[in-house]
């Protein structure tokens, strides 16, 4: 871990501002330390010489003044640190959210979104300690320590030199001990994590253990694991606590060395009491910031770890979504350019139920569409046509890439080949007003059901919301019902129907040509499923292209057209 990550300064201008403010306040604080020590040593020296309190009034008053100023500066540095932390967190958060929006859902799909959410919120809160405890001490180490050493050198070179010799020993020893224990410490940290995870595993599976009558056995195992862990950890701690020992020892021993040396020189009269006391008071202050940095190192590491994750998101230099495939030029690639892997026949229309075409022409056609994820090919030269006015069902074994194909349609996933709507290549940018979609996850938000259904439109058309809910088989849901975060408060089936209604609302409000629903009925009972099928059939009847990804027999039976997606054969 670097003491101060330059990326922090790069991404958060507030951090720069804080460093300047902190440096000024740190300098002022150092001056008060010197002044305090000076006035205190003068008061004692003059009092010992025999001056009365009356004649020392000025010096003592100055000391009291310094005390007040020092307290104010301590307060100001803390306030600055808290303000700095708040501003930096805010800047980093905003930057991350924008970066995520820029990157798009396809990039995010490769991440753990819960982890990102935690990092951006409570994870970054760990920066509070970094700013309020660690960074000020780091600044003081850089500012106060050299100044105090210089003052000591000027007043009493012998003491100054003692400090100069001892101070560098601290980082040297800490690094040596750190290196000696680093591997073991990491292993130990991993062991601790495993132990904690093991406890979690046992607690989480408690119901299962009870079903099999094994809860008692786990108790013994937990006990022995923890005891074994203690034994190993203590061995490591004996070494790693040495770094703290070195810090303490260096600080206290050099104070002792300086005190004894001053004492001996005072006895033979080569030094004045005032100077001796002054230097004695400064010596521990010279070590204090370094010791504090050591103490707060771990608190700081937590904050920096969170910042690290944020920087990883901000700095990852992967280009934004659609250029990711690199070799995609002009949106079209010839199928013959691809190496032939296994069976080339993919995406054949398997079933085509004879049913009269409904009014309204046009079609959505996939022409030689190929999608890759990393090194593997998910969809290999798919060609399929979805005709307007028909209810089409897209099916295939799980994991075959149905949702990925929909992602390509949405321009979330890069692909080779062409997708045409009514003969025109569909846009691969943010123009999606021709497409209404609902995903496998309901993806609802806090707010009313009506607000959820009308997502993305500036005004909510209440009668259209009712229509959309009815077409989605969700007429029983009250549009004014308030939902919690992520749509909490609805059952899985209810949420699924609201999500379908949301897609239908968009389809009707924007008069989208294409409506795509990904597994819209996996949590629905038969009645609700039939209502949804009727709704979708009537939308198709209006001349729209309706595509449903589903395995459900009811959907397959009701479909005008079924496209079967087979697994890509891998060599």
């Amino acid at each position: 871990m670097r003491p101060l990550d330059p990326r922090l300064l790069k991404h958060a201008s507030a951090a720069r501002w804080f460093l300047v403010a902190g440096a000024v306040l740190g300098l002022a604080q150092t001056l008060t330390v010197v002044a305090f020590s000076w006035f205190l040593s003068q008061s004692i020296t003059l009092a010992v010489r025999g001056d009365s309190l009356e004649s020392l009034r000025g010096t003592v008053a100055a000391l009291a003044g310094v005390v007040v100023v020092r307290a104010v500066l301590v307060w100001m540095l803390d306030v600055a640190a808290h303000r700095g932390a708040a501003a930096v967190k805010s800047q980093l958060r905003t930057a991350v959210m924008h970066r995520l929006a820029e990157r798009g859902p396809n990039w995010l799909a490769g991440q753990q979104d819960a982890r990102i959410a935690t990092t951006v919120t409570s994870g970054l809160d760990a920066l509070d300690n970094y700013f309020s405890r660690y960074l000020p001490q780091l600044l003081l180490t850089a500012i106060a320590t050299p100044i105090l050493v210089l003052v000591m050198l000027w007043q009493d070179p012998a003491s100054g030199i003692t400090v100069i010799i001892v101070l560098p020993l601290i980082p040297v020893f800490m690094i040596l001990i750190g290196q000696a224990t680093q591997g073991v410490q990491r292993a130990q940290w991993d062991a601790l994590q495993r132990l904690s995870a093991g406890f979690l595993d046992v607690v989480g599976g408690l119901a299962t253990l009870k079903i099999y009558g094994r809860e008692r056995r786990q108790t013994e195992r937990l006990g022995s694991l923890t005891e074994e862990y203690r034994g190993r950890t203590m061995k490591v701690l004996r070494v790693s606590f040495l770094s703290g020992f070195v810090l303490e020892l260096a600080g206290s021993l050099s104070v002792a060395l300086i005190a004894v040396s001053i004492g001996l020189r005072l006895v033979d009269g080569s030094l004045l009491l005032g100077v001796g006391l002054f230097v004695l008071l400064l010596a521990p202050e010279a070590f204090l910031p370094v010791r504090q940095v050591g103490v707060h190192f771990h608190a700081a590491a937590d904050g920096l770890a969170a910042a690290e994750e944020v920087f990883a998101i901000l700095d990852a230099d992967e280009p934004s979504r659609l250029d990711a495939s690199g070799d995609r030029v002009g949106g079209v690639r010839t199928a013959s350019a691809l190496p032939v892997v296994g069976q080339p026949v993919v995406g054949q229309p398997a079933v085509d139920l004879p049913r009269a075409d409904r009014p309204g022409g046009g079609a959505l056609s996939f022409e030689g569409v190929t999608i890759r994820r990393g090194d593997s090919t998910v969809i290999d030269r798919l060609s399929a046509t979805f005709t307007a006015g028909r209810l089409s069902v897209l099916r295939g074994p799980s994991g075959v890439g149905k949702s990925t194909l929909i992602g390509a349609l949405q321009a979330f996933v890069p692909f080779d080949g062409t997708i045409r709507l009514d003969g025109v290549t569909v846009p691969t940018d943010d123009r999606r007003d021709w497409l209404a979609w609902s995903g496998q996850r309901a993806g609802l938000f806090s707010g009313s059901i009506a607000g959820n259904v009308a997502l993305g439109s500036s005004v909510t058309d209440d009668s259209l919301v009712v229509t959309a809910l009815r077409l989605a088989g969700a007429a029983d849901l009250e549009p004014t019902l308030r939902l919690g975060v992520n749509g909490a408060g609805l059952s899985g089936g209810q949420a699924q129907r609201v999500a379908a209604a949301r897609a239908i609302y968009r389809c009707l409000a924007l008069d989208c040509r294409v409506l795509v629903l990904d597994e819209p009925s996996s949590a629905l009972d038969t009645d609700a499923e039939n209502a949804l099928i009727d709704g979708l059939a009537s939308l198709a009847g209006q001349g729209r292209i309706v595509i449903v990804v589903s395995h459900r027999p009811a959907f397959v039976a009701a479909a005008d057209h079924v496209v079967h997606l087979n697994e890509v054969a891998h060599v």
Partner: protein, 593 residues
């Protein structure tokens, strides 16, 4: 990382925890004989820090009087000894107190576990969400800080502060009093005032932090939806508004942040200045000499350095207390009435390997439910009522019904995770009369979300029957249709990952079924096996489950909201929520009362 939503909890101002929270903290605190050595070492170290400065001050001031050097010998030795003992005893303190805390960790985990056992799973429904469970485990870990970062520093600094006050008082009573006064003011103002300030800022910030966390979570988790619906920009604008509110609130409360450090710094300075003003006039009277003056004036600085341990200890206390409160709220000492307790002692850790009562045969059990009802802890109405049903060996029954009708409640009741009203007889014996663990030797359950332990497939199967040979395991895996999968993963030593992360929902169900078949329960309940399985694989899974578990000596109750192939089952019941919650047989099947 903590749950982003958890910070929304309002901060409580009361200082003393309730008796129940104290009992949780008591689990974390090592007994006196273990914590005492660390406490002694810590006190010696802190006292050495004070003595080092006092001794150095005396040495220098005395030396300035140019006495014969022999007179200084003791002080020189003292300075060196205190410098060494401060560092050495600090090192010892850390080792001893960590050792004691780690020893206690085992007892702490076991204590919490012992309280969880009788509650699980029905009494822990609040922790059913994975992140809340993780939070509980982290809270338990956090409790370790109680002896290490709360009790130890508070006692150490308190003892050293009192010793120093007494020491100064012996030299110059007035200076002792001013030092005591400054320490008390620093302690009271520094802790109470900052307690109030931080509570106030927490009250202002926590709801905003919670709101921001909710916004962020919704945007991040639903980025695809927001992008597809063109609603991303407006959501980001929303987020910016919440963010800005939080930032401004944080700036407003920041003025209170440094008050504690400033008050302590001010009190430390005041103690020094007051010591000067009381000591200077006393100089020369009653043998109070220059070196004594230096000691009395400089000791406050060293004492306040030791005193600096208190603020972090107080904030650690706030953290530990809220962890203890959360743990307490999850694992109450009182078991809710809705959860059956073990008969023998009420202690769930009682040995359950005792022979099962003679009324419970190894095979061929008959379950009779008459007017059965059940309620979840904390719920104000029954989740299930008036269920009448009969299950005998060879039955393969499908229990249908919409979600929320009480299907899972019935499953949890049959394995005695939940208590019941009405009658539930096993071979004619009322289940209430039997130990719940004995009932579970007859009635087994494959849960909706089967829990796989982070271990190998072998270990995940063996705990159902630890005498099983590898051949037995391979046989049972073949019965549930996992042979190919098993071979592709490299056999029984394949790991399933944390919470079964390396296996799909369907494979997890199959492993869970294999486990249940190994245990050979006379009655097996399978709860919604397709709930977390890709649609399309569900039908095959249900078929495989029914054919694998079919056995003349076993009764199978399959809970599923989706239709089940009729040729594989003998009866269907439909559970309907709402009016009376009645279990009805399908028309062609007669209900056996």
């Amino acid at each position: 990382m903590s749950d982003p939503r958890a910070s929304g909890r309002p901060h409580r101002d009361s200082w003393l925890p309730s008796a129940m929270v104290r009992s949780v903290l008591g689990l974390a605190q090592p007994p006196a004989r273990r914590s005492l050595p660390g406490l002694v070492a810590g006190t010696v170290s802190a006292a050495s820090a004070v003595a080092l400065l006092a001794c150095s001050a005396w040495l220098i001031t005395r030396a300035a009087e140019m006495p014969p050097i022999l007179f200084l010998g003791l002080a020189v030795v003292g300075v060196r000894a205190f410098a060494l003992s401060r560092a050495a005893f600090r090192y010892l303190e850390r080792l001893l107190s960590h050792d004691a805390a780690f020893r206690q960790l085992g007892a702490l985990r076991l204590g919490i576990f012992a309280r969880l056992v009788p509650l699980a799973p029905a009494g822990l429904s609040g922790t059913r969400r994975g992140d809340l469970l993780t939070r509980l485990v982290r809270d338990v870990d956090e409790l370790q800080d109680f002896p290490l970062r709360v009790v130890q520093p508070l006692l150490t600094s308190g003892i050293v502060a009192i010793l120093s006050v007494v020491g100064v008082w012996l030299v110059l009573p007035a200076a002792g009093l001013t030092l005591a006064l400054c320490l008390v003011v620093a302690a009271v103002v520094g802790t109470l005032l900052t307690g109030l300030l931080s509570a106030r800022s927490e009250r202002a910030l926590a709801p905003l932090r919670g709101a921001l966390a909710d916004e962020v979570l919704e945007v991040v988790e639903n980025l695809d939806v927001l992008t597809a619906f063109g609603a991303l920009e407006s959501r980001l604008d929303n987020l910016r508004v919440v963010e800005e509110k939080l930032r401004l609130a944080a700036l407003r409360t920041s003025t209170g942040a440094g008050v504690q450090a400033a008050v302590i710094s001010l009190c430390a300075g005041a103690a020094t200045v007051l010591a000067l003003t009381t000591a200077i006039p006393a100089l020369g009277s009653g043998g109070f000499s220059g070196p004594a003056l230096a000691v009395v004036v400089l000791i406050p600085m060293a004492v306040f350095e030791v005193f600096a341990m208190i603020p972090p200890a107080i904030s650690a206390w706030r953290r530990v207390r809220s962890s203890a409160e959360r743990v307490q709220s999850v694992v109450p000492e009182q078991i809710p009435a809705e959860i059956p307790t073990e008969l023998a002692t009420g202690n769930a850790l009682v040995d359950t390997s005792a022979p099962v009562s003679a009324v419970l045969p190894a095979a061929g059990a008959v379950l009779e439910l008459t007017g059965l009802g059940a309620r979840w802890p904390g719920a104000d109405r029954a989740a299930l009522s008036g269920v009448t049903m009969r299950l005998t060996a060879g039955d393969r029954v499908h229990l249908a019904g919409a979600s929320g009708a009480g299907k899972t409640t019935l499953a949890q009741t049959l394995v005695r995770f939940l208590d019941y009203t009405g009658s539930y007889r096993i071979n004619g014996v009322e289940a209430r009369e039997l130990a719940p663990s004995d009932v579970r030797q007859v009635v087994g359950l494959c849960e909706q979300r089967p829990w796989l332990f982070d271990d190998t497939v072998r270990q995940n199967l063996l705990f159902a029957r630890d005498t099983a040979t590898d051949d037995d395991l391979l046989n049972v895996l073949a019965r549930v249709g996992l042979t190919d999968w098993m071979n592709s993963r490299g056999g029984l030593d394949a790991r399933v990952g944390e919470r079964g992360a390396l296996v799909s929902g369907g494979q997890a169900q199959r492993i869970a079924l294999a486990r249940a078949l190994l245990a050979d329960f006379p009655v097996l309940i399978v709860d919604e096996p397709t709930a977390n399985v890709d649609t399309g694989l569900g039908d095959t899974l249900v078929r495989d489950i029914l054919s694998a578990s079919a056995d003349a000596g076993r009764a199978v109750l399959l809970i599923s909201h989706t239709p089940v192939p009729t040729e594989l089952i003998t009866r269907t019941y439909t559970l309907t929520a709402g009016s009376g919650l009645q279990a009805d047989p399908t028309p062609e099947e007669a209900l056996v009362p």
